[in-house]
Structure formats: C-alpha cells, structure tokens
C-alpha cells in the first residue's frame, strides 16, 4: 500500500518498474465514456495492464494492486483478481494474511458496499479455514455497526457459518440477531438471519426442531406485542 508519509513518486520514475513499458488504453476515433485521467494515478493502470499482458505475478505487482485499490479505484475486479493470483503465487494466503486483512479492512471502512472487497475477504476466510470464523464474524459485525442492513456483511456471515462454523457459533448467531433486534426490531436482515440459522444450522446448534420452532414463535410473538406493525415478523412467522 502507498506510504503516504513520503512524497508520491510517479510510477514511471520508480526504479523497480524501469524495465516495463506501460500499456496505455487503446484510443477510439471519438471518446466513448472516456474517464478523464488523473495524471499521476492513471499511470498506475498503464503499468498494471503491462504486467497483466506479461502474466506477471510478483511482489511489485502485488504492491501495485494494493496501491491502485487504496488510492485510485477499489472497484476494479481485474485488479482484485490479479492480486489474489499474486498472493497464491507468493506463498499463499497463510503467508500473506496480515496484508490482506489490512487492505480489506481499510477498503471496508471507506466503502462497505463494494462487491470485490467482500468477495476477496470471503476467499481469504475460506482459505484460512475454521479458525478464522470468529474473526470474520467480528469483521462483518463491525460493518453492521455502521449499517445494520449491509447486504454483503450479512451474506458474509452466512458463508462463514456454512463453511467454517462450529455449532456454538451458529447458536451465538441467534443471540447476535437478538442483540440487533433490540436495537431495531424492524431490521429485516436480522429476521432473515434467524430463519437461516433455524433452518440451516446443524442440529447440535439449535436443538430439536420442534423446540426450536416453539421458541422462535414465542420470540416473534413477543416482538409483535411490542411492534404489531412490523412486516418482517409476520413474514418470518409465515
């Protein structure tokens, strides 16, 4: 990632890239949805495309993808994908985990609705294995603290539980949704998550189906007594 404490050095002047000819975008006779170039940062993409053309997976390319994501455009899926391939080529996720966690955390802070960020984070989590589950739940919970209905964050929790979750984490998920519903009983994402847990969890997590069902109906009824006009609950009951 770019070290902002130093003056920015244009990539064309960096020694480690001296051997590479940048690859500018093809020109059309007339501009078509052509985005104006930021003179310094746009060059980063020219070097990135040159690296892709060479099929290069290396430390300098990894660093370049980080710089592009952090400073230029965090939504370029080709850059994220290439970054993943660099990580695989340079020792794999286990070796590079700290940097990937840091990058995804900083992008999530700036733009928590970014598809590529969550896809990268999910790939990371699945590659790291069951031991990673709690940290992922904490990561998504931090995002949900800012926006309790962030679709990607909820989907992330579902993926983590399904692939990496032990029974106690499934049970904890019900408690987590209850916490969020105490903050906002109308949070439909939280209600949806309850259905996910009750129907998808291993039996060890939520107990016998009949009892789980009765508890849930009682819970829903209690919420309805508080707020009868709550679409989410009626749907969950149905």
């Amino acid at each position: 990632m770019a070290d902002t404490s130093q003056d920015f050095q244009p990539i064309g002047e960096r020694r480690e890239w001296a051997d590479v000819q940048p690859r500018a975008l093809p020109r059309t006779p007339q501009p078509v949805v052509e985005i104006g170039r930021d003179e310094l940062l746009a060059e980063l993409m020219d070097y990135f495309w040159a690296a892709v053309a060479r099929q290069e997976l290396s430390e300098r390319v990894l660093a370049l993808t980080g710089e592009i994501i952090a400073d230029l455009n965090s939504s370029n899926y080709s850059v994220w994908e290439w970054r993943w391939r660099c990580v695989q080529a340079l020792g794999g996720v286990q070796a590079r985990v700290a940097e990937e966690k840091a990058l995804t955390r900083s992008v999530a802070t700036a733009n928590p609705k970014n598809y590529q960020l969550w896809n990268h984070r999910r790939r990371l989590a699945l590659a790291l294995g069951p031991g990673q589950a709690e940290e992922e739940l904490a990561f998504s919970a931090a995002c949900l603290e800012h926006d309790a209905k962030n679709y990607h964050a909820w989907a992330h929790r579902q993926a983590v539980l399904q692939h990496l979750g032990e029974p106690r984490l499934w049970a904890a998920e019900l408690a987590y949704t209850e916490r969020l519903l105490r903050q906002d009983v109308r949070n439909n994402s939280a209600w949806n998550q309850r259905i996910f847990v009750l129907r998808g969890a291993p039996a060890a997590a939520v107990g016998a189906p009949r009892e789980a069902y009765d508890r849930e109906v009682a819970f829903a009824a209690a919420q309805l007594r508080l707020v009868p006009h709550n679409e989410s609950v009626w749907e969950a009951l149905r």
Binding site: T28, I35, V52, S78, K149, Q158, Q183
Partner: protein
C-alpha cells in the same frame, strides 16, 4: 403514514422522514387530479444522458470497471425512440461499436473496459449496447465472437455438486443470481444455447434455493429477499421456461408489499426505503408474472384481473420525486441524479405504462409533441426477459427525421425493423395518419440510423399490428 406503534427505531425514523418529505411534495406540487403538472421532460434527460456518453470527469474513476455499463445506461434510455430527441453527433455509432469491441476479451466475453477480465455483468451490458447501436445481425456477428462467448459462459458455471450458479468472472468472482440473468439474457440476444449454460450449473435449482421465506429472491441461497436479485432470478427462470419451479404466488405477494404506501415507489427489501431504480427491478416483475400466470391458467382465467400494483402511484413517484428539473432521474428526493438511476427509473416508467395502460400526465409532454408519443415512449424494454413476456420479434426503434413539409405536429416517426431477416420494414404512425395515405409516399427514402430500411413504394396499413396495451398508432408496412 408509517405506524410506529410508539416504538421508534432507525427504520421507522428514516421511513417517517422520507414519507414527510414525499407527502409534502405531493401536497404542494401536485393537486389531486391535476395531471397537467405531471410530465416527463425528455429533452432535459437526453441532454443529461448524452453528457455521459463522450468524456466523463476524472471523478468517475470508481466506475472505470463499469464503462460498458455506463454505455448501456446512457444508450438504452437515449434511444431517440424513447425520449424523442435527435441522434447524438459524437460519439457516433461506429465509435460506440469500436469501444464495445475493445472491451471484448480474447478468450470470450466482455469486460468493463479494454484489457479487463471478462465479467458476466459487462458482458450483458455490452451485448445490449450492440443491439441498441442498431447493428444489423451480420455486422453484430462481426463484433461478437459468439463461440468464445459461449465457452466463457460455460467456464463461469459452477457445477451443481459444488453449489451451482455462476461466478461473475474468472477464476473466483462472486457467485450470485445476477450472473444467471446476465448470462441467459446475453444468450437470448445472441442466439446462444441457454439450456446448455443452465444445465452446466444447475441453474433452476440454484434460483429456487435463492427464493427466501418471504417469497422474494436473494443473491445467494439463504440471503434476504431483494428486488434486484428477484428480477434477475425470475427473469432467468422465465427465459428458460422454468419459472413455475418458483413459488410465484409467494413471490407476487412479497413484490406487492414492497410498494411504499405513501411514496408509491418500490423498496428493494422489507422495511427499507423506496428507491427509484426498483421501479424497474420490482415493477418489472409484475408483467412477467402476468405472462406466466396466463401461460399456466390461460388468458380467459385472468379476465378482469386487476392491476397487481398501483401503477399510477408508481408513475407519480417517478415523475414527481425522481425526476430532476435540470435533467436525469434519481434514487429519491435528496439524492443527486446518476446514469444508473436515470436508466432504471425510465425503464420502470416505461414498464409501468405498458403493463397498466395508464400513462400518468398523458396529455402533453413539455416539448409539445402529440399525446400519442407519450404512449410510444413506453416502448418495449430491451430486457430480453421482457421480450419473453411479450413475444414479439427482437427489435429496436429509432427515429426518422420528419420531412419539413409534414403538416403534423409529431416530432418523429418510429421505424421498426424486424430481425427475422426478410420482413419488409415497417413504420409506426399516429392513427390519424390513416386518412392521409397519399402523404405516405413522400416519406424519406432512408432511415438516418440504418440507412437501409426504407424503400420507396406504396405503403400498406396494417391495423392488426397494434401490440401495445395503450396503443393508438398503426403499423405501416412497406411492401
């Protein structure tokens, strides 16, 4: 107004605030029954959209991987047949086609810009752009490498035993229901084998697993029901002729409940705020459902079926709350316009007019053209799924400049070419033109867009070609 049961939460506070804002707009700017104050302002929207087709400021860099999408959002609504404006001078059609071609990946499919990996979403957007750029089929084949595109789509399939569905890009893009629709719509438009793609990823089963307890469809199995994914899932299933595998009754009930009671617009999820773009994603679900119900139960069984949602309220929301006076349409009051919302708000308006036959503010548009053009503005959506619901030949529309000696106020004639090859070209004209047969021979020899469709000679009036619900025009077929 929202009933908050004396327990305010973030949801109810935000909802109440929006309702206050919207109710104020309706009360002060729209008196009940006063349709004169309601109109679509096509010239302003065209100006806004065309501003995005050439050069964009550097702040758009976050959309650098979505340039084919921007092209689609702009050209889709910019079709002069929809908004009745002149054809842009620059960029010209050849440049647009050259740009789209430059986004094609050597191994098949399209990316969001040149050099980018192929991705299902820009593949869909690029395919639609090529249709809209009035490229006759043989020329389109010269741009798209169809066999490679099919092989790209098949590579994106996740085998059923690994969960099914499609990944958005190689080698590990996100898997969600959007991919299914993007892939099948592209197949439909390019005449590729949809069922080969669907079978390779257990698509129907995947979509069904994405239908949540609420009835709407989520991005992945177990995800919350969401308007965008619901349209994608239903449309993909409809394109395969397998939509009845879903619980359509439950889907319909969820979609209906997503219409805001005060606002008139649609929300994307239960207990969230309405947003102009869902006018298409949610609003577009209803005509599909009607078509599917007709298939299942026969048209007679649906005689007298009322409108499944309040179309007038939706159109009021779009015209009054989403339309910006200086051009473009937006999510909701308080938000700025953008190309995505302009595209889907107008698509939603078009869908609603066609589905319901209601054209709110149908008397006059601000640019003074005849009322019939308001109905013509509700032209067929380019969405392939829409075309499945209204089975007409794939087509596009574009204007022909009026000869200056035409005695009518209409701003443009709409020319329709059927892609079925040898069909002679046809023209939509207002019904009143029936009486002026002799004038038809004086129409110009060439269509400005395709340069090939007009042939001089007697015209034949076909009154049975009135396909659209609120149609008040006739089809002139050139023999």
């Amino acid at each position: 107004m929202t009933i908050d049961d004396s327990l305010q939460t973030t949801t109810s506070i935000d909802q109440a605030e929006l309702e206050r804002r919207v109710a104020h707009i309706y009360a002060t700017e729209y008196a009940d029954g006063d349709e004169e104050g309601l109109s679509l302002n096509p010239q302003q929207h065209i100006k806004y959209l065309y501003g995005g087709l050439g050069q964009l400021p550097s702040g758009f860099i976050s959309l650098d991987a979505s340039r084919t999408w921007i092209c689609y959002w702009v050209t889709h609504r910019c079709r002069p047949a929809l908004l009745g404006g002149p054809v842009p001078q620059a960029p010209d059609r050849d440049s647009i086609i050259a740009f789209i071609a430059s986004c094609q990946h050597p191994e098949g499919g399209f990316g969001g810009g040149p050099y980018q990996l192929a991705h299902l979403a820009p593949t869909y957007a690029a395919t639609v752009c090529l249709q809209l750029a009035c490229v006759p089929p043989p020329a389109r084949a010269a741009v798209v490498d169809r066999p490679k595109l099919l092989s790209f789509l098949l590579r994106m399939c996740v085998p059923a035993e690994q969960g099914g569905g499609m990944t958005m890009h190689e080698a590990g893009g996100e898997v969600d229901v959007r991919g299914c629709y993007c892939a099948l719509a592209a197949c439909e438009m390019l005449l590729l084998d949809k069922s080969a793609v669907a079978d390779a990823c257990g698509m129907v089963d995947y979509i069904c697993r994405c239908q949540s307890h609420e009835g709407g469809i989520g991005g992945e199995p177990w995800n919350e029901a969401h308007g965008g994914y619901t349209f994608c899932g239903l449309a993909a299933a409809a394109l395969l002729g397998k939509a009845h595998a879903l619980d359509l009754d439950r889907l319909l009930r969820w979609a209906v409940r997503c219409q805001g009671q005060v606002e008139g617009g649609f929300m994307g999820r239960t207990n969230k705020l309405v947003d102009g773009c869902y006018s298409f994603w949610q609003g577009g679900v209803f005509p599909l459902l009607v078509a599917l119900l007709k298939e299942q139960q026969g048209a007679a069984a649906l005689e007298g079926l009322p409108l499944l949602y309040d179309a007038a309220a939706l159109q009021l929301w779009l015209l009054k709350c989403c339309q910006m006076p200086r051009g473009g349409l937006r999510d909701k009051p308080g938000k700025p316009a953008d190309y995505y919302h302009t595209c889907y708000c107008l698509s939603g308006l078009s869908c609603s007019q066609h589905y319901s036959g209601i054209v709110l503010g149908g008397a006059q548009v601000r640019d003074g053209s005849m009322g019939v053009h308001r109905t013509m503005h509700g032209m067929l959506c380019v969405s392939a799924a829409w075309q499945h619901a209204f089975p007409v030949p794939m087509q596009h529309t574009f204007p022909v400049p009026m000869p200056s000696d035409m005695p009518f106020k209409t701003a443009s004639i709409f020319c329709r070419i059927s892609w079925s090859g040898q069909t002679p070209c046809a023209t939509w004209l207002p019904r009143s033109w029936r009486r002026r047969r002799s004038t038809l021979r004086e129409l110009p020899a060439n269509c400005e867009w395709c340069q090939q469709c007009w042939r001089p000679g007697p015209a034949v009036l076909h009154s049975d070609a009135l396909l659209l619900p609120s149609e008040s025009a006739v089809l002139v077929v050139y023999s």
